[in-house]
C-alpha cells in the first residue's frame, strides 16, 4: 500500500464545482420530505412523547416516582445531564478548535456537529431544570434583585453550572447562526418560492457576500472560535466540579476536569459519527463528508478513548497510592462490587473496543465503525452512571448502603431525551443546509487563488 503523506487528501472529493456543491447541499431543502422521513420523525417523536408523558406524571405525583433515594440522591438526572453536555462538546471542538488549528476537513462536518451541540445542550439543560422537582421555580437559580435581598451562592459549582451551560448554549447558538448567514443568503438567491425567500431574507439579514463584510466576518469567526475553545473546556471542567468539589471518595479527585473533557470529546465524536454515517448516505454527501473525514474522526475517538482509559487506570493508582482507605474501598467496590457489571461495560466499550481503530481497514469500514461508535455511546453513558451511582451507593455508614434501581419513569425520561435530540436532528436535516455551503466552497479545489497566479503574475 503506497500512501503519499506529503499531499493532504482533498477536503472535497470528486472534483465538484462550486455550483455542484451548492446543489448537493441545498437539494434536500427543495424537495418535499418522503415517506421514510415521516417514519423516522414519528419514531423519534414517539420517543419524545414517552418522555413528555413520564415527565408530566413525575411532576403531578412528585419526583418520588424516580428511583433515586438516600443514599443515592443523584442518579439518572445528573447522569443524563453529563452525558448530553458531553455529546455537545464534539461540535464545538470541530467548529472552533479544528478551525483554529486550520484543519480544512472540518468544513464538511462542522455545521452538523454544531447543530448537534445545540440540540445536545437543549437535552442536557432539561435535566438540571427538572431535577429540582418544581421546574417553574427555576428562575431562582438566577441572581436577580428580590424582596428577600437574597442572592445565589456564587461559590457553588452547581451555580457555575447554570452560568456555564447557559453561556455555552448561547455562544454555540450565535456561532452556528453566524455560520449560517451566508448560506441563508445563498438559499435566498436560489429559491423560487416566495415564502421561502421571505424567511431566508429575514435570517440572512441582507447579506451581500461583500468582501468588505467577509473581512469582518472572518475576524468575528476567528474571535468566536477563540472564545469557544476555552469555553468548551471550561464547561465540562465545571460539570466535573459538581463532583470533584465535593468530598466524596470516588468524586474528590483532581483528575476529573481533564478526564471529563476527554470523555466529552470521545462521546461527542462517537455521536457525530453515528449520525453522519446516515446523513451522508441518505443525502448523497459522500463527496463532502468523505471517508477520509470519518477516518480522521475515528482517530480522534481512538486517541480520546485511550485518554479516558488512562484516567480509569490513574484513578485506581491514586486510590492505592493515596493510602486513603475509603478511597480504596470505593474503587475496589466499583470494579468488583454490586455494580461491577456497569463498570465492565464501561471499560470494555470505552477502552477495549475502540482499540480496533488502530487498524486502518476498520477505521474506514462503515459497519465496523457503526458498531464501535454505538458501543462508545453506551460506554460513555455508563461511565457517568458508574461515577455517580457507585460512589454514592456505599457511603461511610454501612447501615445505609443501598442498591439503586431506576424506575420506568427514569427510563421513560431518558428515552424522551433521545427522542427530543433525534427529532431536532431530523427536523434540522430538512430545514437548514446540513453542510456549510460557503465554507465547503472555500476549500474546494481551485477555490482559492493559486500561489503563483493571481496578484504575483499581474
Amino acid at each position: 500500500m503506497n500512501i503519499d503523506y506529503s499531499q493532504e487528501a482533498p477536503a472535497v472529493a470528486g472534483r465538484l464545482t462550486l455550483a455542484e456543491i451548492e446543489e448537493l447541499v441545498a437539494k434536500p431543502l427543495d424537495s418535499r420530505p418522503d415517506k421514510k422521513y415521516f417514519i423516522a420523525l414519528s419514531i423519534s417523536g414517539g420517543a419524545l412523547m414517552i418522555g413528555a408523558v413520564c415527565l408530566a406524571i413525575s411532576f403531578y405525583y412528585g419526583l418520588g416516582l424516580w428511583g433515586n433515594n438516600q443514599p443515592i440522591g443523584w442518579a439518572f438526572d445528573i447522569v443524563n445531564f453529563v452525558f448530553w453536555v458531553g455529546i455537545g462538546h464534539a461540535g464545538t471542538l470541530i467548529s472552533a478548535i479544528l478551525f483554529l488549528l486550520r484543519q480544512k476537513w472540518r468544513t464538511g462536518i462542522a455545521r452538523f456537529a454544531e447543530a448537534m451541540t445545540i440540540f445536545a445542550v437543549i437535552c442536557a439543560g432539561i435535566f438540571p431544570a427538572i431535577h429540582t422537582g418544581r421546574p417553574w421555580l427555576d428562575g431562582y437559580l438566577l441572581p436577580y434583585p428580590n424582596q428577600h435581598h437574597l442572592w445565589v451562592n456564587f461559590t457553588s459549582p452547581l451555580l457555575w453550572d447554570v452560568f456555564a451551560v447557559s453561556t455555552y448554549f448561547t455562544v454555540s447558538l450565535v456561532f452556528w447562526y453566524i455560520g449560517l448567514i451566508p448560506d441563508f443568503a445563498t438559499l435566498r438567491d436560489r429559491t423560487s418560492s416566495k415564502i421561502k425567500k421571505t424567511i431566508y431574507s429575514l435570517f440572512s439579514l441582507g447579506w451581500r457576500h461583500s468582501s468588505r463584510h467577509w473581512q469582518h466576518y472572518e475576524k468575528a469567526y476567528m474571535l468566536l472560535a477563540g472564545f469557544a475553545t476555552p469555553l468548551v473546556l471550561s464547561v465540562h471542567t465545571i460539570v466535573s466540579f459538581d463532583f470533584a468539589v465535593s468530598i466524596l471518595p470516588g468524586w474528590h479527585t483532581t483528575i476529573f476536569p481533564p478526564y471529563f473533557v476527554a470523555g466529552a470529546i470521545f462521546s461527542g465524536f462517537a455521536m457525530v459519527v453515528t449520525v453522519l454515517v446516515f446523513v451522508r448516505k441518505i443525502f448523497n454527501l459522500e463527496n463532502i463528508i468523505t471517508m477520509d473525514h470519518l477516518d480522521k474522526m475515528n482517530k480522534v475517538i481512538l486517541a480520546t478513548g485511550m485518554m479516558v482509559g488512562y484516567a480509569y487506570g490513574m484513578e485506581f493508582f491514586i486510590a492505592w497510592y493515596s493510602g486513603v482507605q475509603a478511597e480504596q474501598f470505593v474503587f475496589v467496590n466499583r470494579a468488583f462490587g454490586p455494580y461491577a457489571w456497569a463498570y465492565w461495560i464501561m471499560v470494555s466499550c470505552n477502552v477495549i473496543f475502540p482499540q480496533l481503530f488502530w487498524v486502518r481497514k476498520f477505521r474506514r469500514s462503515i459497519p465496523v465503525m457503526m458498531v464501535i461508535v454505538i458501543l462508545v455511546n453506551v460506554g460513555m453513558w455508563f461511565e457517568r452512571f458508574v461515577i455517580t451511582v457507585t460512589s454514592l451507593h456505599r457511603d461511610f455508614l454501612p447501615s445505609s448502603w443501598a442498591y439503586y434501581t431506576p424506575t420506568l419513569y427514569d427510563f421513560g425520561i431518558l428515552i424522551g431525551s433521545f427522542g427530543l435530540f433525534f427529532t431536532l436532528v431530523i427536523l434540522f436535516t430538512k430545514s437548514l443546509p446540513v453542510v456549510s455551503i460557503s465554507e465547503v466552497k472555500a476549500v474546494a479545489e481551485g477555490a482559492q487563488p493559486s500561489h503563483h497566479g493571481g496578484v504575483a503574475n499581474a
Binding site: 462550486l18 455550483a19 451548492e22 441572581p143 435581598h149 437574597l150 442572592w151 451562592n153 456564587f154 461559590t155 457553588s156 451555580l159 457555575w160 452560568f163 456555564a164 453561556t167 448561547t170 455562544v171 456561532f175 451566508p182 445563498t186 435566498r188 438567491d189 436560489r190 431574507s201 429575514l202 440572512s204 439579514l205 441582507g206 447579506w207 451581500r208 457576500h209 461583500s210 468582501s211 468588505r212 463584510h213 467577509w214 473581512q215 469582518h216 466576518y217 475576524k219 468575528a220 474571535l223 468566536l224 472564545f227 469555553l231 471550561s234 466540579f241 460557503s438 465554507e439 472555500a442 481551485g446 482559492q448 487563488p449 493559486s450 497566479g453 493571481g454 496578484v455 503574475n457 499581474a458
Partner: protein, 387 residues
Amino acid sequence: MHNTNLFGVSALFDSPDKIILVAKKTAEAGFTNFDINTPYPIHGIEKAMKLKPSKLGFITLVFGLTGSFIALFFMYWTMSIDYPMIISGKPFFALPAFIPVTFEVTVLLATLATVIGMITFFFKFPENHHPLHDTNYMKQVSKDKFGLVIESTDKNFELEKVKEFLQSLNPISIEEIYYQAKENNSVLEPRFLTLLFVIALVTSGTTYFILNKLLYMTPFDWMSTQLKLNPQKPSELFSDGFGMRTPVAGTVAQGFIPYLSKGNPNPTELLENPYLITEENIKIGKSKYLTFCSPCHGNFGDGDSRLRGQFPNPPSLHSKRARDFKDGMIYHVIVNGQNSMPSYAPYLDNEERWAVVNYIRVLQRAKNASESDIQFAKKENVKNASN
C-alpha cells in the same frame, strides 16, 4: 428610466485568480467606493482591495473586560457587602470560587458584543432593501461567480468611463444596477399612527391582563393560595374555625413555671430570690422595668406616672413599706398584681421577674443612700477616673 437612480455598475468574473487581479486594478485606478462580492471569502482579497484591517477586535476587548469586571464586582458586592454569608469557611471575597462565573460572563458578553456589533455597527444590517438584492449579479455571486461593483457615489464615477474600464478587465458580463427612489414616508401617516396606537393598546392591555388577572389565576397564584392560616381568616382545618389552639392541659411553657401563690393577696410562703445580683441581671431588669413598670411607677420608682391620670398613680417604691418588702413579696406583686395593678406574668418570664426585683432594689438603694454609700461611690469614681 422613471423614478430610478443609478446605484453602480457591476461586472462578473469566473475565477478567484481573476478577481484578485480585478480588485487590485480597481483599487489602483483610484476607485474607493467599490466592492467585491464572492460566494466565500477569498484569501488575500483585502490586500488587493487595499482595505484596512478589521477593528472588530476592539469591541471584543472592551466588552470582554467589561464582562469580567461586572461579574467580579457583582459577586463581590452580593457576597461581601449586600448579604455577606460564610460558605464552607471561604472568605467573603473568595476569588478562586469566583473565577468560573467571571470567565463565563466575560465570554458571553464578548461574544454577543462582537456579533451584535459586527451586524449592526459594521454591516448596518438588517438591510434587505439594498439595491444589489434581487439582481442577476447577486444571484451569480451567491452561487459561483466573482463580482465587482463600482458605486455611483465614487468621486471618479462617470458611467461611460467606468464601463470602459470594466470592459478592459475582460468580464463575463456587465450590468448596470438601479434602485427605486425612496418614498417619502411621513411619520404622521394615518397607517403608521394606527400601528403605534395598536402597539400601545396591545402592550398595555397585555401588561394589565398579566399583572392584574393572569397572576391571580391557577396555577400562577401558587404564592398567594397556600394551605396555611391567613390572619383574619377562619381555619378550614378545625371545626371551631380557630387557627390558634390552646395548649394541651398541663403544658408548661419554657420559663413560665406556674406560680403557686397565684390569686392570694397576702401569701405567707414567699419565694427566695434565686438570682445573684450581677451586672447582666441588672441590665435585663432595667430594660424590663423601663418597658413594663416605668409608665406607671416612673423611671426611678417615684410613682410619677407618665399616663396623665388615665390610670391611678401607684404609690412610690421608696416608701418604708416598699423598702421593707422581701424580694419574694415584690416578685409576688409582679406575678399576681395588687389593687389596680394587673399581673405581669404573661410578659415576663421567671428570670426577668427576678431581674426586675433586683433592679427595684438598685433604685431603692440609690434613692435612699446612706453616708457610707456616698463615700463608697466617690471612691469608686476616683478609682475609675485614675484608670
